[in-house]
Amino acid sequence: MDIAVRIGSLELKNPVMTASGTFGYGEEYAEFMDLNKLGAVVVKGLSLTPKEGNPPPRIVETASGMLNAIGLQNIGIERFIQEKIPFLRTYDTKVIVNFFGDSVAEYVAAAERLSCEEGIHGLEMNISCPNKQKGWCIFGTDPRVAAEVVSAVRKATRLPLIVKLSPNVTDIALMARVAVDAGADALSAINTLTGMAIDIRTKRPKLANRTGGLSGPAIKPVALRMIYEIFSAVKVPIIGMGGIMNADDAIEFILAGSSAVAVGTANFINPLAASEILEGITAYMKTEKIDNIAHLTGVAHET
């Protein structure tokens, strides 16, 4: 059975990865799961310099989901390279670094710095973050801004470049095309939907940051629809995510058009989720007599 998948020039031994921000820097989960089993570890989003993040409360539970407003807290690229890469290099899995910036220049500098380190196999660009240069706009919701920042990063790295799309847009297929035209080797989708919760006793938003990103099973239908639309719009591999809790969910994403899947919020519920999902996918392939995972990708589009 062939379950290896290609993401640009990167070959993963299987299609199961972790979603950025839900798996720490990998080591937090090493106690529970053999990281060697993963197709790739995608680490918490990094920026050139450390970020403090938002004040608490940062988390609110919602119906079949959760809102988070971590505010991209991270230790910065240098400390990551010093302290985390050596550990990750002891595993036989691919390391994909999720990163972001406040400006195009910061994105480029981050990509350049990450590209000259051994042990980093791919970059995932998070474009769902506020653009400090342009005030309130989010890189990932304006096609022109997205094109600009992706092109700039494309020139700055030879590593496989995955662009992670924001779902908070009218036309996800358009954003996918823009990212691919600007040089993305692959797309990942979806990031969190922007949401809110209000405390009816204090009459204030529950999150200190007021709004946060919705993840978990609640968003799965929206994520699947977006994967389905992206698959019709572009040719590059898609890494599907958004509410994947078990193998059946992951298979839905593959049928909708994903080449690989990422497990996010599910890690919090079951620290073994990613490895159980991989087992479930191979069990399904056996039952369905499918010998190559690639034959499943996008099958829901056939009529």
């Binding site: 988390i59 989901g65 959760m66 988070n68 919090f268």
Partner: protein, 256 residues
């Protein structure tokens, strides 16, 4: 033994209005929890409620681990309805623990409300040696009072409505105690768990008297193991996770 396992309910009994004592048998070889550590429980099989709930280790008995919990919202309401034999996914023990006081220091243990669950292992550990301060809303919210009385050198009680002990907050009691010229200051260490404003007050009092205090903090949690960065409190060295770097912090570390 993994810290993620299935636990079986041995007993789940009301101990007071709105409070239950839960006894769980956990697999053999599971690491023994230390005072101040906590577990996270999955109260539903479906995806709503989604996240695990955090509960401090209250006691370890031959039957298993005991958690003392207050029915507060939907998750604990579901937990209340669970019966002997039910199996729950459980993560833990998690977090750091209350550090031991130096030999020559006397432990002052302070609890507000359900905070008693977290400090109870300390009360047991320092049996006969600690002074315990225990505050609650009313007489009926004082759990394990008799046990605490037996195990402590001295027990101070306060309630918001004066229905037991002195009326007012337990921080005020601590404050007068420390202000008393016969107090064992500076030869004591404070260990406290309770609502945020209470811990802030304790921290101020401790600082005023030059006493070291450890406080156990609470924040909403998702992963419980330091991966999501969701449960942070502000400390002098930036945001620290309650689940991994805490829940116990030196009170002077916290930016209140």
């Amino acid at each position: 033994m993994s810290r993620f396992f299935n636990a079986t309910i041995q007993e789940n009994v009301p101990v007071h209005a709105n409070h239950n004592l839960l006894t769980l048998s956990i697999p053999e070889g599971a690491p023994a929890p230390l005072p101040g550590q906590f577990f996270m429980l999955q109260v539903s099989r479906g995806s709503d409620p989604l996240l695990k709930r955090a509960f401090s280790i209250f006691r370890t008995t031959q039957q298993g681990v005991q958690l003392l919990y207050r029915i507060r919202g939907r998750g604990t309401e579901i937990l209340r309805t669970m019966k002997e034999g039910a199996v729950l996914e459980m993560l833990g023990p998690l977090g750091n623990c209350y550090p031991n006081p130096p030999r020559d220091k006397m432990p002052l243990i302070l609890a507000g409300g359900i905070g008693i669950a977290s400090v109870f292992p300390l009360i047991e550990k320092f049996a006969g040696r600690s002074i315990v301060f225990y505050g609650a809303r009313t007489k009926d919210d004082l759990l394990m009072k008799d046990k605490a009385e037996k195990l402590s050198k001295k027990l101070f009680i306060s309630t918001d409505d004066g229905s037991a002990g002195s009326r007012g907050t337990i921080a005020a009691v601590l404050s007068s105690f420390l202000a008393d010229p016969h107090s064992p200051i500076p030869d004591c260490h404070i260990y406290a768990c309770g609502p945020h404003p209470l811990l802030r007050a304790v921290s101020e009092i401790a600082e005023r008297h030059g006493v070291t205090a450890y406080v156990s903090m609470e924040e909403h949690m998702a992963c419980g193991i330091g991966a999501c960065l969701g449960c942070v409190v502000k400390t002098r060295s930036g945001y620290s996770s309650v689940c991994k770097e805490g829940p116990v912090f030196k009170s002077t570390e916290i930016v209140w």
